[in-house]
Symmetry: C2
Subunit: 425 residues, 2 copies
């Protein structure tokens, strides 16, 4: 009863949380031409990422946490509980970023977890279960092409050797970079002890909460994600003398696929499909030469498995049409394929009732982006808390912004979810 | 009469010509992945180009020619005539290449001119007019974005300072590279003495002669060429959470333009239009980010000025549609704009009658590619000789190939055109 009463009043230190977000955001900061703002570029397993990891681990230790690292570089920081042997309540996210990022994506969940621990320390609150704050390696997939990599390895969906072998565009491998940066931990993967519960607070990265004026998003699940790397082989030829009928134009093939991917979304025939061609490269990439080769990526998202499978099949079929029309050969490599995730109903209810109890307006929402919680959900009850972002929730962009108040709302919900579960036996 | 009789029998040394082409082709050679062949990469004003220039200049001097260089790096090698003060008969082309080239494009015209001089030397033939063999700087435009640069400066269409200021993708300028490679000559531009006649022998770089079984193409002119550098500004955003309606998708805009440029050709409504999107780049070029910026190039060719102008206007109008549909801003920089060229009728007749006299099957043809002859035609009577290429005349590709016999045919026509004009007073 004491604890329960305490938790009613308990709140995190919003200023301290904000200060931590700002300090971490200075690591990997760069002047962003497109926006004129200062962005964050902390791609996984780069020197900048290493510097960010060191800072956060120092903060973990300063908060009295016992830090360990697993063999894919994920970091776990434990606050002991009063009852030895009980599985921990885990709180986490990631601190790696895309090449043009803001300060909140992932970092809010990790530094929010740290703020939860700092708050427990401030008030001398002990919990029955251990509380662990963690961050996972290469959640973005922006460098090695597979997102949620660290949490997927921790949860056992992706094998360690497969993960080590992934390479970036310069041919550098995950394994080699982990070693270079001294991030090869000894803790076994997949994780041996399943957490009792896993919570992740994250910026929505979308416009819905702001549009509806909600302060908290109760995340019910994550939509399916499918990534393709599409390689197009044509034939380079002289732009001024090669009749169109004799061309095997790789840039035309790439363009046709890009337009079709967009039109599929517009048609609505594949449910709430989202599609994006984010990478697009042609060779030799010269003004007066018909490109002989092209590479592009397709990012497909869909909350509905059946609609997603139809979209994939139909886009595949279109690639054959493009081959025939352009005389090129097209091959597809799937670099990511995650099924939609439905979070544990009890966890969803807990997030919802906690927001309600704290007097924060809320609604249930499905996540448009992939998150580490979606991987951990395979081995433990997982729940997610969203907070609204400004500017239509723009993310993966230096304009990404959530107010100090919004961050405080989310981490207060996180705090009370942790308190509620860490005292269950 | 003596000379005339001599010329009836006179022929070049095909083996020596072929050997020169092969030797020059080894400079800048690289293993081409796409074809499995050895290609040539000798972009203008690179170290490889400098090495090629040195080799050819050594050959010029060994043939007894007096070499001079102008302020844009064009090289002129003179064989004195018997009547001082008469304007020279000029033979030339270029030795710079695109990034994925064969051994013939340009080099045939330059080394063919050298072979003409060597043949005159072998037979102790003197001419009334000087004979000059020359090569021009950056004909391809593949590095600095403006093709026929050296000949355009020599002919006065492009100013020297404008040419010096052109930069490659690394920001290196024509002026700085000319200086670095010690290719800044002292001969004034535009050329002070107009040649009496200018001849250029070149591979067709197209399928027509081979399809029709002709040994010589009598070039009547060059089609108009128009290059655009199209910059697209959108907004980068999260691929998984940003609804299509809120996107400003630069890769979509680039794809729409690429598809339209192709469809314009298919429709036939713009005459014998050719169009190519050869460069295509997006930023930040990551799988899970809607591209916020894109750059592409459009290469338009048309033998008819009116049809070309209509095509340019209609494509411009379409860019506005694309801006509205995608919410992007699109700007266009014209990096090349040459009008169609009609060669001097007397020169065309001379090439034709010479081919006829030598018993070589021939037809009149318009050039699909731009050539230095098209620039020199503005200041002197110019004529061109085409020879067929294999594999549908593929060029700007390591598969580019013309047989030793075809090269011999073309250079024999060149030889006799030079003889015919160099003895006119």
């Amino acid at each position: 009863m004491t604890l329960t009463r305490t938790t009613q009043e308990l709140g995190v230190d919003a200023a301290r949380l904000w200060d931590s977000l700002s300090t971490l955001g200075r690591i990997g900061a760069y002047p962003d031409e497109a926006t004129g703002l200062t962005g964050v570029r902390r791609l996984a397993l780069t020197d900048a990422d290493r510097a960010g990891r060191d800072l956060v681990v120092d903060w973990f230790r300063a908060a009295g946490l016992e830090v360990r690292q697993d063999r894919i570089g994920n970091v776990f920081a434990r606050r002991a509980g009063t009852e030895p042997g009980l599985a921990p309540v885990m709180v986490g996210s990631h601190i790696d970023s895309v090449a043009t990022a803001g300060r909140f994506d992932g970092c809010l969940g990790v530094l929010g977890g740290l703020e939860v621990v700092r708050t427990l320390n401030d008030h001398g609150i002990s919990t029955r279960r251990p509380v662990e704050v963690c961050f996972f390696t290469e959640e973005e997939g922006a460098r090695f092409g597979t997102d949620m990599l660290g949490s997927a390895v921790a949860a056992g969906r992706i094998g360690l050797e497969e993960a080590y072998a992934l390479t970036d565009r310069d041919g550098l491998s995950v394994g080699a970079e982990l070693e270079r940066l001294d991030q090869l931990g000894t803790t076994a993967v997949p994780m041996s002890t399943r957490p009792y519960a896993y919570f992740e607070c994250h910026v929505e990265q979308g416009p819905i909460l702001a549009d509806n004026g909600r302060r908290i998003g109760v995340v019910t699940g994550v939509q399916a994600i499918n990534w393709w790397e599409v390689t197009i082989e044509g034939r380079s030829a002289h732009a001024g003398t090669t009749p169109q009928r004799l061309r095997r134009n790789a840039s035309l093939a790439a363009a046709l696929i890009t337009v079709r991917a967009e039109e599929m979304v517009d048609s609505g025939r594949w449910g709430a499909l989202l599609s994006t061609v984010g990478r697009l490269e042609v060779r030799p990439n010269l003004v007066n030469i018909v490109p002989g080769a092209a590479l592009l990526t397709v990012d497909l998202r869909n909350p509905d498995t059946a609609a997603m499978d139809r979209a994939r099949a139909d886009l595949r079929a279109y690639l054959t049409e493009v081959e025939e029309r352009t005389g090129t050969r097209i091959s597809v490599k799937e670099t990511a394929h995650t099924a939609p995730v439905a979070f544990d109903p009890g966890m969803v209810d807990l997030v919802e009732s906690t927001a309600e109890r704290l007097g924060l307006s809320h609604e249930r929402i499905i996540s448009g982006a992939g998150h580490d919680a979606g991987e951990i959900a395979a081995v433990a009850p997982a729940g997610m808390i969203f907070i609204p972002g400004m500017y239509e929730g723009i993310s993966h962009n230096p304009r990404e912004y959530s107010t100090p108040e919004a961050c405080e709302d989310g981490i207060n919900v996180l705090l009370h979810c942790v308190l509620a579960t860490s005292d269950q036996s």
